[in-house]
């Protein structure tokens, strides 16, 4: 067995890829050279072209795993095994997606994921807004201590507590249910913290004016503070959506059958299926990927805000 001789055993296919890649890099370098020494007009065009080329090559590399997954999901199992590999589906088989949806249980998994994710997002927003508001506008005993306690929960990751939490869930009779999947994530220190910061940005005079107008805390919060903090709320909501949808460890241990498994866990079982079903696995990956990709396309700006503030990904 040649287990340790990986670099020495590069196949012709791999060599080809390396050759093409180096050719492109050389071309880009050449264009850069022209860009520096040619006529002004040629120079500008050449640099521009080389930049596009570089961006394009990197895009291809970054996107390739996703691209080849989509292609393979549209091929028949024996076409996937074909050598040299097919890099484009000539006769796309869309029926694979139907198979993945029904026999692959992707429909069920995705529905579970959406139920769980929606509940977590709504729950997180409600508790974070309420807690954030309390920390920003209310005076109550031990405020500072409670705030520190909130923050400290951020330092105890699920990876540390997962098995004790599992015992709790089991003893409460929640094992293998939506409750188990949702409840532990209904409140987060990070959300409360983010919302507090957002509400601190609301001018104090507004609160004073509202008080004079006889607005209670609840009405001030829902009518004035929340609309003003909308960007932060959107960022937190998207962030919570991504984190909840992508969870792996917790859903893995608290579910035991397809009735409650989320799509991430479903993928694990799908990936263990037979070779003659490998196209279904690829279709399952695509189905699991699409929801977040669409969200990314629509809400790129808000999402980036949320990620740069939190930067935790499941």
């Amino acid at each position: 067995m040649r287990t340790d001789s990986l670099p020495a055993a590069l196949a012709p296919g791999f060599t080809k890829v390396v050759v093409v890649a180096s050719a492109i890099v050389v071309l880009a370098a050449l264009l850069q050279f022209v860009g520096r020494h040619g006529t002004p007009l040629g120079r500008r065009r050449a640099t521009k072209f080389s930049r596009y080329l570089l961006l394009l090559v990197l895009s291809v590399i970054v996107l390739f795993p996703i691209y080849i997954t989509i292609v393979n999901s549209l091929l028949a199992p024996d076409q996937i095994a074909q050598r040299p590999p097919l890099l484009f589906p000539t006769h796309p088989r869309w029926s694979t997606y139907a198979t993945a949806w029904t026999t692959g249980h992707l429909g069920r998994y995705l529905m579970n994921s959406f139920i769980v994710t929606t509940l977590i997002v709504v729950g997180t927003l409600v508790t974070s807004i309420a807690a954030g508001y309390a920390f920003a506008f209310l005076e109550f005993p031990f405020k500072r201590t409670i705030f520190v306690v909130f923050l400290s929960t951020m330092m105890v990751p699920l990876e540390v507590t997962f098995f004790t939490n599992l015992q709790t869930v089991v003893s409460l009779g929640w094992y293998n249910s939506y409750v188990a999947l949702v409840v532990p994530f209904l409140a987060t220190g990070f959300g409360a913290f983010l919302m507090r910061q957002a509400f601190l940005g609301v001018p104090g005079e507004l609160r004073d004016a509202a008080e004079i107008d006889g607005l209670g805390h609840l009405r001030f919060m829902t009518r004035i503070a929340v609309p003003l903090a909308r960007p932060a709320i959107a960022a937190l909501g998207l962030f919570a959506f991504f984190a909840a949808f992508n969870q792996y460890l917790w859903p893995l241990i608290v579910t035991k059958n397809d009735q409650y498994r989320t799509v991430q866990i479903g993928l694990k079982y799908l990936s263990r299926s037979q070779l003659n079903n490998i196209n279904v696995t690829f279709a399952g990956i695509v189905l699991a990927f699409i929801p977040l990709f669409v969200l990314l396309l629509i809400f790129q700006k808000q999402l980036i805000r949320g990620l740069t503030a939190g930067a935790v990904k499941g």
Binding site: M1, L55, V62, L63, I80, A134, T153, E159, T164, G314
Partner: protein
């Protein structure tokens, strides 16, 4: 309003209580009390030290590489070119992949019989890279780097956007070379972002679990037995919650130091964004 706060606070109190509860080596188990002596045993055991070493290696493999790639992509995408927004979306797109999506993609592409990458690596019908003691951790790292490169790109882009354009234009007028501009102007200004990304990336790497469960199950020869996977393995396969608890506490202390740094940075960044 106070009721609200109490409602929120309650699950937290529970959570903390629970996490503290795991501190004694035997939570809820009808086992003998051996006190701290178990700590000594576990912390010097080969199994734990191996995990620690592998986890450290994994962090070293994934964090700097992810960071450099993210920075490179961010620098390239920070140009005034037509259609640059499309490239930005492409570079950010791995952010939409979960651990499971990324791992299963590579798991299938590395399949010993039909995997495309297996074929390109010339390993067809041989031992899978993921079962190879020398290469398994590297393979898992590559998957992780790819999955996280979108996040690194987004963080770095946000950092770059904060660098004032006038400053860069001034450099151009001064005729500063591209490399000098990067080293002496951009990198120093980006250093808070880079620091933040290092801390976040390290925490993420330390807590990695999904890719191990999906790709290697800690094998071959425990070469990919990262700390969190080891804890999981102790609980669910070895039935040793006591050992797991000790390791969880160790993980907690390691993460704590990093999390403290993160929160300090977070406070600064968020206040400033609002």
């Amino acid at each position: 309003m106070l009721i609200f706060a109490v409602f929120v606070f309650y699950p937290f109190a529970r959570n903390i209580y629970l996490s503290m509860y795991s501190t004694p080596p035997f939570p809820n188990l009808p086992s003998q009390f051996v006190g701290l002596s178990q700590y000594g045993q576990v912390l010097v055991s080969h199994n734990f030290l191996n995990s620690l070493w592998v986890t450290a290696l994994f962090v070293v493999y994934t964090v700097p590489a992810g960071l450099v790639l993210g920075l490179l992509l961010a620098l390239l995408a920070h140009q005034k070119l037509r259609g640059i927004r499309a490239f930005r979306t492409v570079f950010a797109s791995p952010v939409a992949t979960s651990v499971a999506v990324a791992s299963v993609i590579f798991f299938t592409l590395l399949n010993p019989q039909v995997g495309l990458f297996t074929y390109w690596l010339g390993q067809q019908d041989q031992l899978s890279v993921l079962d190879n003691p020398t290469w398994a951790l590297v393979a898992v790292s590559v998957v992780t780097i790819w999955q996280n490169v979108g996040l690194a790109f987004i963080l770095m882009s946000a950092g770059l956007q904060a660098v004032p354009d006038e400053l860069l234009e001034a450099c151009e007028i001064d005729g500063a070379k591209r490399w000098a501009r990067l080293r002496h102007v951009i990198l120093p200004l980006l250093s808070p972002t880079i620091f933040f990304a290092v801390v976040v990336g390290t925490i993420l790497s330390l807590q990695s679990f999904g890719q191990i469960d999906l790709l290697t199950q800690g094998g071959p020869l425990q070469r990919t037995n990262l700390l969190v996977y080891n804890i999981y393995d102790q609980v669910f396969n070895q039935n040793n919650a006591g050992r797991a608890a000790v390791m969880a506490i160790a993980l907690f202390w390691i993460t704590l130091v990093l999390a403290l740094i993160q929160i300090r940075l977070l406070e600064r960044r968020v206040t400033y964004a609002n």
